[in-house]
Subunit: 385 residues, 2 copies
């Protein structure tokens, strides 16, 4: 396989962006990445777009054609990838293959979602299309409900405390304060998390990632092209992907993300790395409990110990393995189709030493972890400078 480099990155502000259309978001992030890479439109061989539900959020399918058109990039081939909240991560992996196969030398991979043009109730109905429609959604299940059950069971099985869950939000909000594009740039305390509005027991409002508009974009290239355009390429050395049951009740153990375990094993093997080699990671924290089962599945700590590991500060900047320096989905925001790409953008900043006040000193190897649904899909990438 050809080696694949990240030679440019770009991201929009995340938040309630009422003056941006869906395609505006992608075009802004894409333009920033193109400028960062120093390439021209004519250099681009292909475009991948991660997007979960343009068809329902903004009545638009045929997403990649729209994006290529509005970005002025016709006739470049453009392909939309969907895997619920892992759409971005899977788009990255398709981009890696497009370069690795020799089909294209320079590929744009972006993700975008426009979620705030409809009511919150509608958003919840759309997000639950990532669960099994016939066995979960039809019966009234929602995503806070699914993750609430995972959290309650994690507490029962492993003695995880309500406060340990809240510590995830506290850490990620603290990191987001130093991320200029994050949606929530303010601190929260454990007490504030515990006392915020109950959403789905035991998860309160501040355990949940927000509804977000946003886009992120990266430019991938062959090693040869990277040398031509870029002084500090970051290489994607591992790319793992896995499925598990789409329905939570069919999972062997609801507190263990086997898709995360399988995808990360694939990525670690491909990169020749172990969990101990990772200096910084972006982990899928759509709810606080998700970060715990994420860091456990990635083998940063033992199964069941994520709560204590977090409480002890091991995942904070300066800790054993800093997690979600960007603020994570929880505080940076979660425009679902963009998230997996935005994670790669953050790791690229970290490995280039451009993460400002949230920089992890001397970071050389980073990891991204993107999940679809309650764990039906997982994608893990390992990046090295």
């Amino acid at each position: 396989m050809n080696r694949v480099a990240v030679i440019g990155v770009g991201v929009t502000k995340f938040g309630e962006l009422w003056d941006y259309s869906f395609s505006d978001l992608f075009v802004e992030a894409g333009s920033a990445a193109i400028i960062d890479a120093g390439i021209d439109g004519k250099d681009i061989g292909s475009i991948y777009v991660g997007n979960m539900s343009g068809g329902r959020f903004v009545n638009q399918e045929h997403i990649a054609s729209l994006i290529a058109d509005h970005a002025g990039l016709n006739p470049v081939p453009a392909t939309r990838i969907e895997a619920a909240c892992a759409s971005g991560g899977l788009a990255v992996r398709q981009g890696v293959m497009a370069v690795a196969s020799g089909m294209h030398d320079v590929v744009v991979v972006g993700g975008a979602e426009k979620m705030t043009d409809i009511t919150t109730e509608k958003v919840t109905q759309i997000l639950v299309t990532a669960a099994d429609q016939e066995w979960e959604a039809f019966l009234g299940m929602t995503f806070p409900g699914l993750y609430g059950m995972i959290a309650r069971r994690h507490m029962h099985e492993f003695g995880t405390t309500r406060e340990q869950l809240a510590e995830v939000a506290v850490k990620n909000h603290a990191n987001a304060k130093n991320n200029p594009t994050a949606q929530f740039r303010f601190d929260v305390s454990v007490e504030k998390v515990l006392n915020s509005t109950m959403v789905a027991d035991p998860l309160t409002l501040l355990d949940c990632s927000p509804i977000t508009d946003g886009a992120a974009c990266i430019i991938l290239a062959t090693e040869e092209k990277a040398g031509e355009f870029c002084d500090s390429p970051i290489y994607i050395t591992g790319a793992g992907q896995s499925t598990s049951t789409i329905a939570l009740h069919d999972r062997l153990q609801m507190t263990v993300s086997d898709a995360t375990i399988n995808a990360s094993k694939m990525a670690y093997k491909m990169a020749g790395k172990t969990p101990g080699d990772i200096d910084v990671a972006e982990v899928h924290d759509c709810f606080t409990i998700a970060e715990l089962i994420g860091i456990e599945g990635l083998d940063f700590c033992d199964i069941g110990s994520g709560g204590r590991f977090t409480e002890e500060g091991c995942t904070a900047i300066g800790g054993e393995i800093p997690v979600n320096t960007s603020g994570g989905l929880k505080a940076k925001g979660h425009p679902v189709g963009a998230t997996g790409v935005a994670q790669v953008v953050e790791i690229a900043y970290q490995l280039r030493g451009e993460a400002g006040k949230r920089q992890v000193d001397g970071a050389e190897v980073g990891l991204t972890h993107n999940v679809g649904g309650s764990g039906g899909t997982a994608a893990v990438h390992i990046l090295e400078r």
Copy 2:
């Protein structure tokens, strides 16, 4: 690039399949392809699923996770590709890259759409999400309307006659009679097409492809694996893809599909073939006019001459270049996300000499042509035995 072989194919009956769920469709086609290839589940490295709008047709996103789960194939990585009616064709191209990159040795590529569980009016609203929502759909445009305008303009510019358009339907219905899985297995006459219900001037009901449930599936493999499992592999030697403007009114010339021209040039170049080398082709005929601009864009005949070329029988079985031996979208049916994969299934049957009464004698090189929207996306594949 590694060579990529088609080692197995499968397809469901196309039609109003009220006793099949969305995932039933994929599982039936996939199982048939797996049996045809003689592989086991454990041989499968990855799954690609072409699907246009599961989110709106059946309230289900996270399509590929659902399919992998219901097919009993977890933890195999599974990825959904969307490009409106070209979703299947783009899924094929992603599968080709997954094998060509060395990432996976054996890959399942399928397409599925479940369109008949809702009202026809709703289907029309969903299909128009393949057009530009803000500039076409919002203003009341529909797909019959868009293709009606293309047809009227083709008649004006090139002298194409209403009868020549009807000849496309007559030919494709005649071919579908010999395809056991086709939706419409009966003849129509030019007179019958002309006198059927007006849909969007000049197109009548029998100029339009139907609303269809169905799925199709192929198994791709490296040359080495193909040798292990298969006596008669078909090789995908060319894979082209292109975008054009998503909105018809932005197209340089509305009667010319520049995405088709660009995608086919890419595929011809990659395969080292010319249009004259093609023995049999499946061309995207969502409306009769689409087949004319398709065969013109593929350079089987000059721009503007598609009507005469068809009227003279050049695209019939036994003619210069037989087109849509399966019956095409028009008579085989058009389950939108499955269509691009079903086209490859038909060409595989033809190149293996297994097309029964619709066999093109001595076919050695075949082509598939899949279009999204009014021409915003095109994918072209060249296959050889």
